[in-house]
Symmetry: C2
Subunit: 407 residues, 2 copies
Amino acid sequence: MQTLWDYRFAQRTQRMTGSAIRELLKFTEEPNVISFAGGLPAPEVFPIEEFKKACVRVLDECGPQALQYGTTDGYIPLREMIARHSCRYGIEVTIENILITSGSQQALDLLGKIFINPGDCILVESPTYLGALQAWNTYGAEFIPVPFDEDGMITNELEDRLRTGPKFIYVLPNFQNPTGVTLSFERRLHLIELAERYGVPIIEDDPYGQLRFEGENLPALNVLDSQTRTQNGCYSGNVIYLSTFSKTLAPGIRLAWVIAPPEVIHKLVLAKQGADLHTATFNQMVAYEVGRGGFLDRHVKFIRQVYRERRDVMLDTLQEHMPEEVRWTHPMGGLFLWATLPPKVNTSDLLKEAVKKRVAFVPGQPFFPCGGGQNTMRLNFSNATPEKINEGIARLGSVVKDFLMQK
Amino acid sequence: MQTLWDYRFAQRTQRMTGSAIRELLKFTEEPNVISFAGGLPAPEVFPIEEFKKACVRVLDECGPQALQYGTTDGYIPLREMIARHSCRYGIEVTIENILITSGSQQALDLLGKIFINPGDCILVESPTYLGALQAWNTYGAEFIPVPFDEDGMITNELEDRLRTGPKFIYVLPNFQNPTGVTLSFERRLHLIELAERYGVPIIEDDPYGQLRFEGENLPALNVLDSQTRTQNGCYSGNVIYLSTFSKTLAPGIRLAWVIAPPEVIHKLVLAKQGADLHTATFNQMVAYEVGRGGFLDRHVKFIRQVYRERRDVMLDTLQEHMPEEVRWTHPMGGLFLWATLPPKVNTSDLLKEAVKKRVAFVPGQPFFPCGGGQNTMRLNFSNATPEKINEGIARLGSVVKDFLMQK
């Protein structure tokens, strides 16, 4: 039903669409559904005891500060911790390069706010992270998909697209959401070189980089870019890097960060002042208290083991239960893998059947900025226990077989 | 120094200005400065012990939920608590009317995002809350100031302005920031009637309503509006109401809420999905745990006593130390009062002298959307202790006297 309010909304509000995934999650929360649909970390790995101790300590030792308003750029000891951590991975930054955000989604939103004029083009992997499309759509962005394979964005396809004058390139180089694919070293170098040649900035979204189960760590794009671009320890290059505590500590505290040249951080701070003043002081102090003294490193090792086992179980059971025509990625880290079914299968239709059999996934189509992917699906392996994964993939395999027979 | 980044920012980024107040706060944080400049609650009233107990209990009893992703609209028990609380003040709402935000600043930003097209006009009190101007400026809003006196917005001046087709009216009816002034009952009725006649919505920002020290509580604008507009317990009227836990529990947890018709909440939820997914689950559960069982009511009574005393001390010492030509408001609640100096005084110049004498305030000019108010200042009485207020106003009085003599 239309009401008068519908005539009062701004034009950009027409471009706001609900996350198809969030809508689907409602379905999948019914009892007994084994869901591979969400992007949730395993609740079993949350360091609850450490959080308890940290809350008590922060409130005992600096309660008045922790509960008071804070600065927009973020709690300095937390930014120092992030700077030290970044240096270990080869990127020299100071706290002037770092802004704390209320989750990475806020970083995406603020970047859209400061960079995107209506009609601006953005180069994105296809498929890519849905939340970025949602955030930037509101600011009037147009998306130019770059083809993608098992080594990530096909950088040989990039040059023509760079000539169109895009505002920036958005890339998830490690264990990408939704596919689990990692951008190869050669392509990283190529991407950096092309971005430099055409003067187009890169937004590097890296929520999962710490969660590598196997293979060697590949340098971040901002590390490759920074080798000639660091002045007085302060990064001033072409890449804006995002990461988060959501996958290593907990998503329910909404803490992430942006690493960028100081002039970009300055504009992000102005945008954040208007958007939410600052990220919760208490949460920043608690996260610092939980993470410091090496706990974060030890904890990440533990998460890697848990998720590696779950990925292995999912790969094994897919092998066992899926018909031959189905293919899937073999992620070396992260939370997701990606399955491709025969072209005749529409995974949105398949989902309806799957939910009847008490198993759920996310159809791949919404992750494609310009359509396609009707026969794909994203499977999350971090949230369900190995037993549930076993049972859930067995169910899904039988749903797929039935579905293929009917077609 | 300009860098190539400066050519990449969006047009709207040109409209982002730092909060003059936040810049000034840097000055005022020097040691021994008694600052009436910020808008900070008294840290002495933060319920630190209750927060500690609540954190431990939430983590013990529902740690995995508290640290996990949550829904965009917010934690249901917290929204139910807010609905019950609102009903006690005469406004019938259900949780369908309520969205939890990451502080009221986020509510202002999201409202700007869903309502404001570039060039849209907004009617505002003059002076008004700076954070709203900042948030909406980014979306291309133009502001039409409505004259203001000791009874708030002068509603007799409203009708011509309503004919210009503004997008909405923004008003802080209780102990307004920056003036401390309260909108009179008669003007509330008049405002509601005019808004209804011209079909212009009202955004009612009420962070301080609970902090009344004296006089009778006046009905909120949405209460006055709702009497003919509630269907099945669900508010569907012309007023969007904002409030917050920042002044009653603590600002450092960044928790506030919007009450609006369901179709507005629906759009706000879409905007919030893109902006930060959701407000920290942990913070919402902890605030609910702290607030429930009547604690919030008892605690607010305590805060009122503390702030009332501080206001009284400030009024008394102003009387004692300020030259005759200076006038100031007598707020019946809230955190601020407003002083007006002789027209020849520029309070930005005065501030430089004041900081030398180790006392600070905020010059009033930035609160005026279209200029003016060079001879005004905002004084915060909630943050400093009575002793500091005494000493600080004595210092300020002598600075003002010296300044007037030199002119």
